[in-house]
């Protein structure tokens, strides 16, 4: 018996390639068929390989089986149209050779086109992320449900609604026309950004899954980088930002799987290789005149890879937050800016600005105020930490705020 081992995650990787190519061939009307064909292909392998040994070239074996299954399906549909439903005029040539093109180029193109199709503006963001995880990342329904901290039924409903939308909107699996690339790309980048954030900020305990989501977001962003038409400055900026953040994965959790805050992390654990990749793509993003929010976020992430708290560091971060807020306001960005303000100008000034924000349903707001008051007025600090504790939703958050309350 052959002792050769399978490459880890081989099936997940081949699943998404097979499904992209077959869906492109059959269209979104048959996306469920494409999913079944891909899954059946791996089950066929499971029915044979353990008993007979691995084939010499497992990937080629999988492609042959997938092709045959797809051809049979198409042939059966043709037969149905010709024999059982002759009243339906079928215009395709009768003896057309059915070709399923699993070449490297077609696989790459199909995945990129699929990325644009799934991030179609008519699909709600959670549907886009869910479908991307299923079709472009090869995740199972269980795995997606775990990632979203929900159950299989919810995910199944979410995915079938999104698929229905793709059909009714007649979304094509194709590259957008030149005049539409920019607007469609924005949507794609938002989805990739959300997918990354889902992994980076998720409350799920499973670190492998969390980091897996981030790595998938990076992989999909690389699809855009590899294509000349989408290798644009903002795409490089987004990729840079993802690499900078990912570099802190090894330092972010303690032995109990609890999150270690940035200022308490052991910087010797930060992944230097990922930081230099971040720097590489940040450099590549500084072309042209278009500055996106990803540029500013990548800049902020870059300064965070330097642990030493210099005046220069925080002044740069403050400026970048100022720019970012002008492009896209969010309460989290506003709060982060206040923190940078406290590190540069001083806590008193930061408190004055913070209290103008009045984000009174946000536990980060009160936690930040507590932090700012800590050295100035312990009573007020405690007051704010107590409010933050009341609003915090997760146990780890409550626990870390409780520690602060005890210190007041």
């Amino acid at each position: 018996m052959d002792q050769q081992e399978l490459i880890p995650h081989l099936f997940r990787e081949e699943f998404r390639k097979i499904i992209a190519v077959i869906s492109k061939r059959l269209g979104f009307d048959h996306i469920d068929v494409a999913e079944d064909i891909a899954s059946e292909t791996f089950l066929s392998a499971l029915e044979i390989w353990p008993y007979k040994g691995l084939p010499e070239n497992p990937v080629a074996w999988l492609y042959t089986v997938a092709k045959n299954k797809a051809k049979n399906k198409i042939a059966r549909d043709l037969l149905f149209l010709q024999k059982i439903a002759p009243q339906i005029k079928y215009t395709a040539p009768q003896n057309e050779e059915i070709e399923i093109d699993l070449s490297y180029k077609n696989i790459t193109d199909s995945q990129l086109q699929m990325l644009f199709a799934l991030c179609h503006p008519s699909i709600p963001p959670e549907g886009q992320i869910g479908l991307s995880l299923r079709i472009l990342c090869g995740f199972g329904i269980d795995e997606i449900a775990n990632a979203f901290l929900t159950n299989k039924e919810t995910i199944n409903k979410r995915l079938s609604r999104a698929k229905e939308k793709l059909r009714t909107e007649k979304v094509q699996i194709e590259f957008p026309i030149a005049s539409e690339i920019n607007s469609r790309l924005n949507n794609v980048l938002t989805t990739l950004y959300l997918l990354f954030s889902e992994g980076y900020y998720s409350e799920i305990k499973d670190c492998t899954l969390r980091e897996g989501l981030c790595m998938e977001a990076i992989r999909l962003t690389h699809l855009l980088i590899e294509n000349d038409q989408t290798n644009l400055p903002e795409v490089n900026a987004l990729l840079s930002l993802m690499y900078f953040h990912s570099s802190r994965f090894p330092a972010r959790k303690n032995d109990h799987g609890e999150i270690i805050l940035y200022q308490d992390q052991d910087e010797s654990l930060w992944d230097r290789e990922l930081i230099s990749k971040g720097a590489y793509y940040l450099h590549r993003s500084s072309r042209g005149n278009n500055v996106s929010k990803y540029h500013f976020e990548a800049g902020i992430a870059y300064w965070h890879t330097i642990k030493n708290d210099t005046k220069e560091k925080w002044e740069n971060i403050l400026q970048l937050y100022n720019h970012l807020l002008k492009i896209e306001y969010s309460s989290i960005t506003a709060l982060n800016r206040i923190y940078a303000l406290a590190r540069t100008i001083g806590k008193e000034e930061a408190i004055v600005e913070a209290e103008q924000l009045k984000l009174e349903d946000n536990h980060f707001y009160f936690a930040l105020l507590g932090e700012l008051y800590f050295d100035i007025d312990k009573r007020k600090a405690k007051e704010n930490f107590l409010k933050a504790h009341l609003l915090a939703r997760t146990q780890p958050d409550k626990k870390s705020i409780q520690k602060k309350i005890d210190m007041c």
Binding site: F11, E14, G138, G140
Partner: protein
């Protein structure tokens, strides 16, 4: 030495398995079979695809699988050499399909053509 068939009963993986899950099953099944062949007790075996499965009934009516109300049906078998049914049962206990609730492995002696059995 006798030969025994270890017949695996489980659910159709198509509706339940992710690619990653199938790969895990693949690895576990290969490990199981490799450990049996390492003891020189593996004779052979095969998976039985669920796709296009049919059942022919006594009145020659043909139905599609799955097979009535049971979700778990024969998905494959291996043949092993063992000194006793107990030994064959021990080998069966390592079968990865047993991780699934409701799944089972049936252990059956293979009849010899020696006129005694």
């Amino acid at each position: 030495m006798e030969e025994y068939a270890l017949i695996m009963r489980h659910e159709d993986g198509l509706k339940v398995a992710s690619p990653e899950q199938i790969q895990t099953w693949m690895k576990q099944t290969m490990d199981w079979i490799n450990s049996i062949s390492a003891q020189n007790k593996f004779v052979g075996g095969t998976g039985l695809p669920f796709a296009d499965a049919k059942v022919v009934w006594h009145n020659k009516v043909v139905t599609n699988g799955p097979f009535g109300d049971i979700k778990e049906t024969i998905g494959g078998f291996i043949m092993v050499k063992a000194g006793s049914v107990e030994e064959a049962v021990e080998l069966a206990k390592g079968c990865p399909v047993l991780q699934g609730e409701g799944n089972s492995v049936e252990v059956r002696k293979i009849a010899k053509g020696d006129g005694i059995h």
